[in-house]
């Protein structure tokens, strides 16, 4: 440990120190806002430096032993292409939402704790994406969630309190279940370090049957965080209650942490386990063969329920929330294909690439749309479709940004969403699976249907009173340009996603990188 690579811990530290300084600067709101935005920009820079370091590293893994205690006994942070990919999503959506919230929220109320909590949420996200320790993953999840509890109840009206109470109780239950599962895995495998766990499973030193059961328990928690059917019920209320920039981060980033955890834990770590199963639809002995059909069923549920739910929502927040449930199905669908493919093969890598590209697209586009809903609330005073109409005449720039976000989620070239959807369909074709293709098609039709409705009710029709918000719309415009840039300059994005997918299925590389540090 002669050269601890501080670049790994840099994003975490920037967010943590920003959270502390914004808390200390509470009496100076102007300074606090400046520090907060500066910290956001610093976070993005730290993430960029980390991504560059990971790309430039010969092995593609940078391991950082916190406190100088090496794996498997100490807690290590592990940065690889997969972590870097999700960190980039977090940085883009996080910074955009942060800048948006400076212009959006009431400044006196926001000065109390908003900025600090926002950065603490980023701390939790960053820690969860970087940690190489299963129990530490639980801790970062809790950090992320505790900040989000307060942010969801930010407006503290009756309906916000009710939504936040449900959100909190559910996630506390989820946290308890996660603790139970992690404790069980520790009891069975004798380690909490994820690389060590993979190593022991691969060696056959562990009884595989209880590990499968406990990991299935753990899966429910990740599914709850990601809002996958049947664990989606908290999503609409929480998303309606939280301020728009918080919802953008919840939908764009926090959900993706659930997806990251699924990819990391089930594809990288627990994929080594094999146990003979005699269950319908389960072909093969690996754990992934078990989770494949489970994920497929969840994707079916998510796409259908999200689509049907979104079509008849009375307000934009509700529509976007149900749309998030449906879109998360589009991310889980290729993961289900990947889980049933041969381990480390081209189909598995390709399917995970599709899921990652779709995650990026959904993070950007849904972030943009939730912020648009915030603009609508600010400019018209409501997000109910009954109160909206004709905004394309009132504010063409706003309408244009919203339109780009919608097109990206529908999947029109040359936007990022086209490639996301294209890769999902291509995954279905390569797997030769008619059900996957049919489901993706149904989901795509639903997406067109509910967004057409949102567009018609909000931007066409009789114009309503509108108070222009040029500064907020500017943030939307930047995100909209980002969607176009990702779509036009798709080569490096897909290369990054491919590297991330390869890292996700490179179990031996991960194990070697983490465990050789101690040797």
């Amino acid at each position: 440990m002669s050269h601890p690579a501080h670049v790994v811990v840099a994003p975490l530290l920037v967010a943590l120190l920003t959270a502390v300084t914004t808390l200390l600067a509470r009496s100076f709101p102007r300074l606090q806002r400046g520090l907060s935005v500066l910290g956001g920009v610093g976070y993005a820079a730290a993430v960029a430096a980390l991504a560059a370091a990971v790309t430039g590293d010969a092995d593609g893994y940078i391991v950082y032993a916190l406190s100088g205690w090496d794996a498997p006994f100490g807690i290590v942070l592990v940065a690889d292409a997969l972590s870097a990919f999700f960190l980039i999503i977090a940085a883009i959506v996080g910074v955009a939402a942060l800048v948006f919230s400076v212009g959006y929220l009431d400044r006196e109320t926001a000065a109390l704790s908003y900025h600090s909590l926002f950065h603490f949420m980023l701390v939790g996200v960053t820690g969860a994406l970087l940690t190489g320790d299963l129990f530490n993953l639980f801790v970062w999840f809790e950090v992320m969630l505790m900040a989000s509890y307060v942010l969801v109840v930010y407006y503290s009206g009756p309906e916000h309190t009710r939504a936040a109470l449900h959100y909190t109780v559910l996630n506390l239950l989820g946290g308890a279940v996660m603790l139970l599962a992690v404790g069980g895995l520790y009891a069975v495998t004798g380690t909490l370090n994820m690389a060590d766990m993979a190593h022991r499973l691969a060696e056959g030193a562990v009884d595989p049957a209880p590990v499968l059961g406990l990991s299935a328990l753990l899966f429910t928690v990740f599914a709850l965080k990601a809002g996958i059917v049947p664990f989606q019920f908290w999503v609409p209320d929480a998303y309606r209650a939280a301020p728009a920039p918080v919802t953008a981060v919840l939908a764009g980033v926090v959900k993706k942490v659930g997806i990251y955890a699924i990819v990391r834990v089930y594809f990288t770590v627990l994929s080594a386990g094999e146990v003979a199963l005699d269950l319908p639809f389960v072909a093969g002995d690996s754990y992934l063969a078990f989770f494949g059909p489970v994920m497929f069923a969840m994707a079916v549920g998510s796409i259908l329920l999200g689509g049907v739910g979104a079509v008849n929502q009375p307000d934009m927040d509700g529509l976007l929330a149900y749309s998030s449930i449906g879109q998360i199905g589009f991310i889980v669908l290729p993961l289900a294909v990947a889980a049933t493919a041969p381990y480390g093969g081209s189909l598995m890598t390709f399917a995970i690439t599709a899921a990652l590209v779709y995650s990026l697209n959904h993070g950007l586009a849904k972030g943009l749309l939730f912020l648009s809903s915030g603009v609508t609330r600010r400019a018209v005073g409501s997000t109910d479709f009954a109160d909206l109409g004709g905004l394309s005449e009132r504010d063409p720039a706003f309408a244009g940004a919203f339109f780009l976000g919608v097109l990206a989620l529908i999947g029109i070239p040359p936007l990022s969403g086209f490639f996301g959807k294209f890769l999902v369909f291509d995954t279905g074709v390569r797997a030769g699976s008619t059900p996957v293709l049919a489901l993706a098609l149904v989901g795509a039709v639903f997406t067109v249907a509910y967004f057409s409705r949102a567009w018609n009710r909000t931007f066409w029709g009789d114009p309503v009173e509108y108070d222009p918000q040029p500064r907020l719309v500017a943030v939307l415009a930047v995100l909209a340009v980002g969607l176009v840039v990702v779509g036009v300059g798709f080569e490096p994005v897909v290369a990054g996603a491919e590297a991330a997918a390869e890292a996700a299925v490179n179990r031996s590389g991960y194990v070697d990188a983490v465990l050789e540090v101690g040797a």
């Binding site: 502390v20 200390l24 916190l66 406190s67």
Partner: protein, 160 residues
């Protein structure tokens, strides 16, 4: 409301609680104890004073500013600042090691018997090995966070 017994017992007990808290804080880096439990114990002492003697007496004891209209003004404001400062101390204790070229949160121990200037002191009967752990700074940060956080809750909820 409060009886003579309660007031007298509080007077006697509070110093002992605080002393125990401090001793837990000091031994926390390698024995049962630490910033968290010491902070909780300190809060029980303050809560006892608060319940038995009322908020005003606590304010004269701690020396907070006059209560204002906002949520975090007056005494709660002082507590909330304590909380923020503690967070800064704890985070700073971790960051210092990165500035010195070690991983984040790395801690070390200085044995006073290794320091020539005070070496003679450690050889006195009844003193033994004295150590200064850098983790103590982190513990102090945690202590301040817990005291600040809990007292903010107690005083804000108590005011309503």
């Amino acid at each position: 409301m409060t009886t003579v017994i309660a007031r007298t017992v509080t007077r006697v007990v509070v110093p002992f609680i605080l002393l125990t808290a401090v001793s837990l804080l000091f031994q926390g880096h390698n024995l049962p104890g630490g910033g968290f439990i010491a902070g909780v114990l300190t809060c029980t002492a303050f809560a006892l004073v608060y319940i038995i003697y009322g908020q005003e007496s606590l304010r004269t004891l701690v020396g907070g500013s006059e209560p204002g209209d906002g949520v975090l003004t007056g005494l709660p404001g002082t507590y909330a600042r304590l909380f923020a400062v503690g967070l800064g101390v704890a985070a700073g204790a971790g960051v210092v090691s990165t500035a010195l070229g070690y991983p984040f949160l790395t801690q070390t121990v200085l044995y006073l018997s290794d320091v020539p200037a005070v070496h003679a002191l450690t050889e006195l009967p009844g003193i033994g090995t004295l150590e200064v752990a850098s983790a103590f700074v982190f513990d102090v940060g945690v202590y301040l966070v817990v005291v600040g956080g809990l007292l903010t809750i107690v005083s804000v909820v108590g005011r309503e």
